[in-house]
């Protein structure tokens, strides 16, 4: 993908972002495959309270996750009955609940999110009416009413995994040289070369919702010069922010091929250079950046060398052991498979049971260049007969779907690319593969970072 050089000021420029997969709007049965427990961060806006307005069954997992993460006091619940839904008027009910809540909350939140669920899609709850009612009654608080519904068609406005978290951002009239990271639930791993590389380029302000401590800090996300979508989950959001805040955007795809990571950095460099050039043309204050191509940026170059060394080490340790990987480990399983095959690993199977991102180019490449690799798109009943497919104990599995389906005894527990970013991500993946091969189990992720 190539950026056309979005401007930091003046007219917004369109950026060629990958087309988000348009899923067939069809009912599609899927087995639930048990997964190991993972720490799951939730993105939260500082000084913001969230009310989940839903049937009693919904939001249990959100509530328990928040409690597990020590954030239980940021959430409340309004349980709607089928009768409430049938008779209508839930907009007023919800607004009244918010009124009651605001009387109790101390301190009063700066912002307030109301979260609606699938059932509201069906009964037509008027989100705008709720927001309007609340804004009128509580003019000092910023409100947003968002839908969280797996019913909605993928690729539409409402299909944003982090819906609502960015909705409270508004143009501030300021613009600085910050770079926003969009689409992650947590900061970039500390071991990644990303921050050091940006530091060498003179970029000291990197913002993300996960690292904001106050609502003011959160609002300044709207001041940044560039939105960097660093995950599949950020793609719809950066397009929305580009439209709403005139912030140009770029997709920094999670990647495991050295050349692909290099491409990410090159495009980032080119985009920033373009912003810099446009800023000069607009006679804005001089940009503080000291941009150099990634190959001449020492942090980036050194990280690339480390990644290549890690690949060589892992190849030697693992040899020709068959590998299976899945969509639970990475949002881009075909890209990961191509990367590993390119290094010489023996990838046998890709379990693409939950494809969410657009990985079509890599899939075509995989089918064309490596036709022997098996792609499993649906968990078959027979494979799960007793809960395990079994029979492939000698496979090294990346991701828990793959581990369950193969019954392998070597398992690298990676969850949605978490813990992996840039060249450092390749090093972590390779070290994880070696550890899983030698010890039977290894984990990459935020929990590991916390330790």
């Amino acid at each position: 993908m190539h950026s056309n050089g979005p401007a930091a000021c003046g007219k917004p420029h369109t950026v060629a972002l990958p087309v988000i997969l348009k899923a067939e709007s069809m009912t599609e049965f899927r087995y639930h495959i048990p997964h190991p427990e993972h720490h799951r961060d939730q993105l939260r806006i500082p000084e913001c309270h969230t009310l989940h307005a839903c049937p009693p069954a919904c939001a249990r997992h959100s509530a328990l996750r928040a409690l597990r993460n020590g954030e239980g006091s940021d959430y409340s619940f309004c349980f709607l009955s089928l009768l409430d839904m049938a008779l209508g008027g839930q907009e007023e009910h919800i607004a009244a609940t918010v009124d009651e809540l605001l009387e109790r909350l101390d301190p009063t939140p700066r912002a307030f999110l109301v979260k609606l669920y699938c059932i509201d899609e069906l009964v037509g709850t008027d989100a705008h009416a709720i927001a309007a009612l609340l804004s009128k009654r509580h003019p000092d608080i910023v409100f947003s009413v968002v839908r969280s519904s797996p019913l909605v068609k993928r690729g539409t406005h409402d299909d944003r995994m982090q819906a609502g978290v960015y909705d409270l951002l508004e143009k501030t009239g300021e613009r600085d040289w910050g770079v926003n990271l969009i689409g992650r639930f947590n900061p970039i791993p500390a071991s990644s070369e990303f921050m050091t590389t940006l530091g060498e380029w003179g970029i000291s302000t990197v913002r993300s919702v996960a690292s904001c401590k106050t609502f003011e800090e959160y609002r300044r996300i709207a001041d940044s010069a560039l939105n960097l979508s660093v995950s599949w989950m950020g793609q719809a959001t950066v397009l929305e922010l580009q439209r709403k805040l005139d912030i140009p955007s770029l997709f920094f795809k999670p990647a495991y091929a050295v050349d692909e990571v290099d491409g990410n950095y090159r495009r980032l460099y080119e985009t920033l250079r373009d912003i810099e050039a446009r800023t000069r043309m607009a006679d804005a204050p001089r940009c503080p950046w000291a941009l150099e191509p990634p190959s001449r940026t020492s942090a980036c170059h050194a990280a690339r060398v480390r990644a290549e060394q890690a690949v060589a080490r892992a190849r030697e340790a693992i040899g020709n052991i068959p590998i299976a990987l899945d969509t639970f480990a990475t949002f881009f399983p075909f890209s990961m498979a191509c990367a590993l095959l390119g290094y010489g690993f023996n990838v046998k199977t890709v379990f693409a049971l939950h494809v969410k991102s657009d990985d079509a180019v890599a899939r075509s490449q995989l089918e064309q260049d490596y036709p022997a690799v098996q792609v499993v798109a649906h968990a078959k009943s027979a494979m799960l007969g007793e809960g395990h497919a079994g029979g492939q104990a000698d496979v090294l599995s990346i991701g828990s779907d793959a581990a369950t389906m193969t019954g392998s005894t070597m398992f690298l527990d990676l969850f949605h690319d978490e813990g992996c970013f840039g060249y450092d991500g390749i090093v972590r993946l390779m070290d994880g593969l070696v550890e899983a091969y030698e010890n039977g189990h290894a984990t990459i992720g935020e929990e590991e970072d916390r330790r």
Binding site: P55, C118, A382
Partner: protein
Amino acid sequence: MKGPSFSRFLPPFASDYSGAASVMQGLGAMTIFIDPGCCAGNYAECDAGHEPASGTVVSAHVSSTDTALGADRQIVAQSIDFIEGATPPLAVLVGTPVSSATGIDLVALAKRIERSTGIPVLALGTTGFAWYDAGVRIALETLAARFLSGGADDTRADHRPRVGILGASRFDFAHMDEELAHLAHRLSEQGFEPIAPHDIASFSDLANADASIALSASGVPLARRLEREFGIPYVVDRPRDATMGELLAHLDCICRPDHAASVAGQVSPDPCALVRRASFSPRAENERPSLLVVAEQVAGCALAAELELCGWPGRTQVATFFDAADVSQATGATVLEDESQLASLIVEGSFQAIVADPLVLRMPEAGRIPHRFPVVHRAISSDLYADDARVRPGYTDDLLAELLNLA
């Protein structure tokens, strides 16, 4: 019209579809959620537990287009595909908010799928608008309507009196399998043959029991049905070792009339006698310590009864959020509709001690009760406190000792 209920401190409890799915998984069923994806996820992530279950969980992943245009054909076709691939002993279609709001006729779909596959397929009328106890009850009643036919098995070599164990779920038992195994062991020691349903055959066998034990409120409707249709008497109890003798005496009385003559007069004919609570009235000024137990009502009432047996001098009130089986009048528990009712109860009750799930104890009102004893109720806090040594997994001997020390 009363508006929706509201919760500031308590999370949504385990839902009816989770309760129903848990029962069905325990019988090895293929459990098909008619949902967009998140209901099955909710169940799997929060309520299925980490113990291996014999059944499989499937999500229909219905899409918005299909809910608008009708998803029946897709549900039937894909159910048939999945069922024929796995050949489970039983399959169930689990209702969710989406299926209930769109009026999908699960009963009709189940019949069509069963006709095609030849495998029993049940429709569970869960909606996602009720708590787990309603789901456990719905699952048990649906199974009973289909599989209980009675007719004593004369070829049986074992002639010990048989006791059906009803209403156990992972929501009320922190270590269900171990606790049930222990209960079965004690029953066997005493000369009974326990029937703990783990498949369709053992479930059907409940109709041939000589007595039933309802271990939770959710099990009471099935116990009543067995009594009504098959003349099987029942007792409601959640015994611990210390109170097992009393339960066994009841069962003796029920199952061995000759033996029962020796204990006649000692055992009440009331099935809820072992756990019944006297109605609570606010304590008098100088009364001894009063205790509030917030729990599944049979478990809570059994604890209160045991405390009384041990000489607890004060009053005990049992309150529960879960009374879908409508048995609170029989047990004497107070039913709570929402968090605010619990807050009012606490404020008005002037309790000296409270036994409740740790998430209930987060409420500021609960924080003002001098003595607080956190005990996990998985229907509320799932496995959040599984590794927390400060939180008891159930009503342990040391909990009773600490409570009695307060007196």
